[in-house]
Amino acid sequence: MTKKAWVLLAALAVLGVAGCETTGVPYDVETGGLTDAQVALLAEQRVYFDFDSSTISSESRAIIEAHAADMRARRGASVALEGHCDERGTREYNLALGERRAQAVARLFRALGVAANRITTVSYGEEKPVALEHNEAAWRQNRRVEIIKR
């Protein structure tokens, strides 16, 4: 065997070994390459906020990242972000605060590679609570952005 042939064989061997050692997650066309954890997070369509705040928590960020990955995979999809507040404080201020929450989520979607023209935001202020009681547990559920994909 010539020296050239040995080199070729060695190269093939290396390639072969490398091929066997590839243990990454297979690209699943149906999930668009999302991790299992991200697929699970897609069930979460609400992210929550502290009082008078539009800061996105790390928990919320993971949910938004999953939806953004899903958006990147599904080119035709668009997302509507609905900002909501709890009943405390004034209605018009809350209308503004709800918009600020929706925009904070929209900004993160854009930063994660989702084109701006695929994102719409709307604020409902405190007008559409999901929990109707007047206590902290209800308020916590109502301070939210709803992520609605189409």
Partner: protein, 438 residues
């Protein structure tokens, strides 16, 4: 001494338009003043067989009691029930410590109208203070009663009454999981509500035009906030703002020619002024923060608004062209939705104290913040056109109700509707001017 009786001719206009509506509301005085002028109100005599649809004297008595400035003397203490001037015996009224006396009579005229006559006396001076005859249609009898209350209030306190004004508010009912929102207008005592708008989507922020003929409001009927204006005379409405983002917080200028509002079409909520004639928009605020809830000063020179530019919502004042911004509130971490008293000396606003949201008055001369209420979720305060009461929304046993408090905080009452949530009250501007010959 001349005891004259004047003929009061009133331009009914809008009041005549309101259909007879079911009284679905009662008012409960939850805190009353210990001091009020004792006034004896004698039930009005009824001449003839026809009975009127409304008890005029009872409406007047309820009005005056609600104001907190009067303490009607219980009828059981009366030593007589005069209806005619010559039957009034002042010493009988002095004996039961009444300081003022109101008598009257009513009768149906051949043309179907009602004639209502009243006389108001100062018991201690033994002198007539006012006397008028009204000739009105039957459906205007309650309005007539409110006019009488206004005359009594003005003669005895020296300040105009606000009983002939109206209130606008939003109700929310839920039937089989479907929401129905209604923007309604009623008399100042909550009587005779008329629905102006009905929608399956939220309605909010009703704002009266200075002539009381139109309401601007925010509707979500197209799944996002847009500002409309609607005539109360013919029901015609127009969409004033449908820009990208928020369209909200409408407020008419005192001359009725402009509308301040909040738009976020440039990215975040800013205050704009729309000129009605040209539809031209002028942006007044330029700030990364939330700027919203504009309200004009009575002289039209300033606009106050809520901004969180310092981190939390507080009240600011600027010139009507957007210049010279000054912060007005410093006490507490949340002050919002301010509006001026008619004299421009005070503001009413929502102020957080601990975890609770109360109605407060800010005295502009000394920056003193006076908290008027002690319930936890109070909002949407607006002054009566005479500045003596504040109407607001609060919560009782889990439901939204309207309430009012005297501007000194002494008298409070809750308006109880039969069903549904009631919110977003707005008190109409000044009463319709009285035109009368004396």
């Amino acid at each position: 001494m001349v005891r004259r009786v004047g003929l009061l001719l009133v331009a009914w206009g809008l009041i005549a338009c309101s259909q007879t509506a079911q009284a679905v509301l009662t008012i409960e005085i939850t805190q009353s003043a210990d001091v009020g002028l004792p006034i004896a109100i004698v039930p009005f005599a009824l001449a003839g067989k026809d009975k009127p649809a409304h008890d005029v004297a009872a409406v007047v008595e309820a009005d005056l009691a609600r104001s907190g400035r009067f303490a009607p003397v219980p009828r059981k203490h009366f030593l007589g029930t005069p209806h005619e001037d010559q039957d009034v015996v002042f010493k009988d009224w002095r004996r039961i410590k009444a300081e003022a006396l109101l008598i009257g009579k009513k009768k149906k005229l051949p043309n179907g109208q009602w004639q209502v006559e009243f006389r108001l006396y100062d018991v201690f001076k033994g002198k007539q203070l006012a006397g008028y005859i009204f000739r009105v249609d039957e459906n205007a009898l309650r309005a007539t009663a409110h006019q009488i209350s206004d005359v009594v209030y003005e003669r005895l306190t020296g300040e105009p009454g606000a009983f002939s004004s109206r209130i606008a508010y939003v109700t929310k009912e839920t039937h089989k999981k479907r929401n129905i929102y209604k923007l309604q207008v009623a008399d100042s005592d909550g009587y005779g509500p008329v629905t102006i708008v009905k929608s399956p989507e939220p309605l909010l922020s009703p704002a009266w035009s200075p002539d009381g003929a139109r309401l601007a409001y925010v509707s979500f009927e197209e799944q996002r906030s847009m500002v409309y204006a609607q005539s109360l005379v013919d029901g015609r409405r127009e969409k004033l703002a449908e820009f990208t983002g928020i369209n909200g917080a409408p407020a008419w200028s005192p001359d009725g020619k402009r509308l301040a509002l909040t738009l976020s079409r440039d990215g975040n909520p800013e205050i704009y002024v729309m000129d009605f004639a040209s539809r031209r928009l002028t942006r007044l605020t330029k700030n990364y923060a939330i700027d919203t809830e504009p309200a004009w000063s009575p002289d039209g020179r300033h606009i106050i608004f809520t901004s969180d530019r310092a981190g939390q919502p507080q009240i600011y004042r600027m010139d009507a062209d957007g210049g010279d911004v000054t912060r007005l509130t410093f006490e507490g971490s949340y002050n919002a939705r301010a509006s001026y008293a008619p004299d421009g000396a005070t503001l009413t606003l929502v102020s957080r104290n601990g975890g609770a949201y109360h109605i407060a008055i800010l005295h502009l001369a000394n920056n003193l913040l006076q908290v008027l209420t002690d319930t936890p979720l109070d909002e949407s305060p607006s002054f009566a056109p005479n500045g003596r009461m504040v109407l607001y929304a609060t919560e009782v046993r889990g439901g939204g109700v309207l309430a009012s408090v005297s501007a000194d905080g002494r008298v409070r009452q809750v308006f109880k509707f039969e069903q549904g949530d009631v919110r977003e009250p707005a008190w109409s501007p000044s009463n319709q001017p009285l035109q009368y010959t004396e």
